[in-house]
Symmetry: C2
């Protein structure tokens, strides 16, 4: 029994969120800590979630004109320095290669922290005429940002996996359409695949991507009241095109400077997924991402073993034929209780229990992972029923997350109330803001909350005329929150 206890979760999500998350990631075999602080090893069950996420997003990218490519992992320092905002923004976080073999290099090479400064120079070579636009590139890769913070798998790591899209366009509006299309695809990924509602917004000017005209974001609220920046899409204006000379001949044979964008989503999406839906029994996965959507646990004794397994395998084969990812856990050396616990820990959305009674009555007992709801279904309708149950599990996950979000957006118009509300409840506090970074500092210093976004989905006009912090004229509605 000691083995079984070691397998199970011991921490409470509500009371020890950080420890609970760390325990879950390791016990569900998603990731382990690497020997170097800030690095993790992504184990097969964690990596499979990333692969499924990639399949969805990559498919949407390709349907909308994006082409994958691969640029070097190392970038010469002189290339980084060509766009001054990039070098100022990323220089403190760069890992530097200084030696190749036994020799010191003539020029230091940065392990890519992001690839604008190596991709944009090639856009300059490849774009000649308006016919070459838009140029829509993407790469799936890892990047390194040398931040000295505590490691939190998928949320905070020095190396992380992501995709980075880089595009060039003929006009400012075309670039803006691109920015919003990618932000929309990130929203779709969170909402339809990960079952996490998000809010679209833009970052305040002082928190934009270095060199960008505008940084847009999708923000997700975690159960502990903190906001996660789920993915960002940047309108880079002409600053990168000017720095790296991306010009083209337009239809009137005039030379023009291009407009560029970049947009990225990292494995932090997996962190948000784990944090949002899982519970004290372990991982909870939405059906679209789960390696196994249904696990069949046969319940038998020596007399019924053969019949039960045959029935279970037939049911599974039928589901598989329909495209459902199903696994029959037929291990003789483990009892059903052990199996229930293990598959709950692993987050399988739907469990089938099949014993002697089910075989006799031609039924299947179906259990939902999120809330343990149990329903008996007819064997004859099992394929249709299963697809409905998978949809139902998605709905439960999405609705619970949506409820959390709706309950935790609060309008406030006094500084002390901002501090009190965030201190007590977490979540978002929306309040009129003048646009001055100093007014964010007031809140940041007291409760470590910042402006995570200026909303785009709702009216951006402030209700009040005055900035809550300084009393000057308000120009925006700001969403304050603590963040990951």
């Amino acid at each position: 029994m000691s083995g079984e206890q070691e397998l199970g979760m011991t921490k409470s999500k509500e009371h020890q969120t950080g420890e609970w998350y760390a325990e879950l990631v390791q016990k569900a075999k998603l990731a382990d800590y690497a020997p170097m602080g800030g690095f993790i090893v992504t184990r097969p069950r964690g990596y499979e979630l990333w692969e499924r996420l990639q399949d969805h997003l990559d498919g949407w990218f390709k349907e909308t004109g994006v082409q994958n490519s691969y640029f070097p992992v190392l970038i010469p320092e002189s290339y980084l320095e060509q766009e001054k905002d990039i070098v100022e923004g990323f220089d403190p976080e760069v890992a530097w290669v200084t030696h190749g073999g036994h020799d010191e290099l003539e020029e230091r090479l940065a392990v890519r922290p992001t690839s604008e400064s190596i991709i944009t120079p090639f856009m300059s070579q490849w774009v000649r005429s308006y016919r070459d636009l838009p140029l829509q590139l993407n790469q799936w890769c890892s990047v390194i940002r040398w931040e000295a913070t505590e490691t939190k798998p998928f949320f905070r790591t020095k190396e992380f996996l992501w995709q980075e899209g880089h595009t060039a366009h003929a006009t400012e509006d075309d670039a803006m359409d691109e920015v919003m299309m990618r932000l929309g695809q990130y929203e779709q990924l969170y909402e339809d695949v990960l079952a996490i509602p998000v809010m679209r917004g833009r970052k305040p000017d002082h928190d934009k991507f270095p060199g960008a005209n505008k940084t847009t974001t999708v923000e997700a609220l975690m159960p502990d009241g903190k906001s996660v920046q789920g993915g960002t899409s940047h309108h880079l204006g002409q600053s990168f095109a000017e720095a790296y000379d991306v010009t083209f001949t337009d239809e009137d044979e005039e030379e023009q400077t291009a407009w560029t964008t970049s947009w990225g989503l990292s494995w932090r999406a997996l962190g948000a997924l784990i944090m949002t839906h899982s519970d004290d029994q372990g991982l909870v996965l939405p059906p679209a991402l789960a390696p196994e959507q249904v696990v069949v646990v046969p319940i038998y004794n020596d007399d019924t073993r053969e019949d039960v397994l045959q029935y279970a395998n037939e049911v599974a084969a039928e589901l598989q034929e329909d495209g459902v990812r199903v696994h029959v856990d037929d291990r003789d050396e483990r009892n059903p209780g052990f199996k229930f616990n293990e598959w709950e820990l692993k987050g399988v959305p739907v469990r089938f229990e099949i014993g002697g009674y089910e075989v006799e009555d031609e039924e299947v007992t179906v259990v939902h992972r999120p809330d343990g709801e149990e329903v008996v279904e007819d064997r004859a309708d099992i394929v249709e029923a299963t697809n409905e149950h998978l949809d139902a599990v998605y709905d439960k996950l999405y609705e619970a997350a949506e409820e959390n979000l709706e309950e935790n957006v609060r309008e406030v118009d006094e500084v002390n109330e901002i501090l009190g509300t965030i201190g007590q409840h977490g979540g978002y506090v929306k309040t009129p803001w003048c646009g001055d970074e100093a007014c964010e500092e007031v809140v940041k210093e007291k409760v470590h909350a910042e402006i995570v976004m200026l909303p785009m989905n709702e009216e951006a006009e402030p209700d009040a005329d005055e900035c809550t912090m300084c009393g000057d004229e308000a120009t925006e509605i700001a969403y304050f929150a603590k963040s990951y």
Copy 2:
């Protein structure tokens, strides 16, 4: 017209193989040279070939128990040093990260040259009992090996993309079965997907992977007479398991040391693909890997435009429905001759020409890329005919490569004849060998050819009793060749 000339190839494959290859890679938009010597940028059309290759190989891996994962790109120097052969073998080629942000690191970190020394320590944590074996991991990633050689895209680059498989087994035989299964999958990839015949062999002891018991290889002969090491699969014995402490409890509750393997295939496979089939008109792609399998070029004037385009689009739609990747080149601003040249340069296996006559007679003119063979097919049978034509193109490519291979394996039993044969014809020279590295040196010094493999597909017993080089007893048949 000057634009058209710039697009086309100018170098001869036969007479200027190196320049021809470099020109082709750039003009077919597969890759460009990065600013740092030894690095390349993989453009969308090159990367798509890699993605399709990945789809095939990754599918076979998963069908045979492999799980993908992701390990850090940086490896602490002390980890590399734990297995002495690895550090001796790779130390001269490692790119070192010495600084993170503005601070010097306490310990240097290697950009991974290969990942045994970070993966095996985790196998040690994850493997407890015989039930945890085999453990079959793989990752798709980039590695860096700081070699100071001339850059040749896909063949010789300091950074390259590859997959590296790492497995642990209970017995030596299980590990050997794994080694041979992966070698077989590499063979399958080359032969069935890339249309390149390969020979299976093992490397001489002095050329094994550092620390390995045995290194197996698939070797492909290029048209310029050089051999390409197409992929390698290593039996690592227990040296890595001992160095990193990978032990398990067997069925009798005894502690045992595991046996490990590793195996890798890189984008060099794309180099071999390009080099083998392409010609002075440009790229030639086998159907399984081609982004477009069929390009439809409509030939029309103002009167016939509408009818021809409608007919072409209908034909294309029918093929698409059947799963054929087809593109209709309906650009009005380009004439058919220009289009023919462009799609030949890009390597599309089959071209359809559809003009007024084809519409009238309900036919399609079909042209094979490799040899320009032209056949007129009935519109009614076009789907079936297309699949046959795609198979025929594959057969032509494979057979031409096979003929080149068969003509260029020569048995020789005198040293001067080895030198003369390789000097004159290239290709493989097979000859009895005593097993001593010094006897390889004799040939290596004179003609820069080495023992690329000891064959596994044929009888390994030498025909003669004596080593051709020294006259001592021969134990092997050695294949000498120049290599990439």
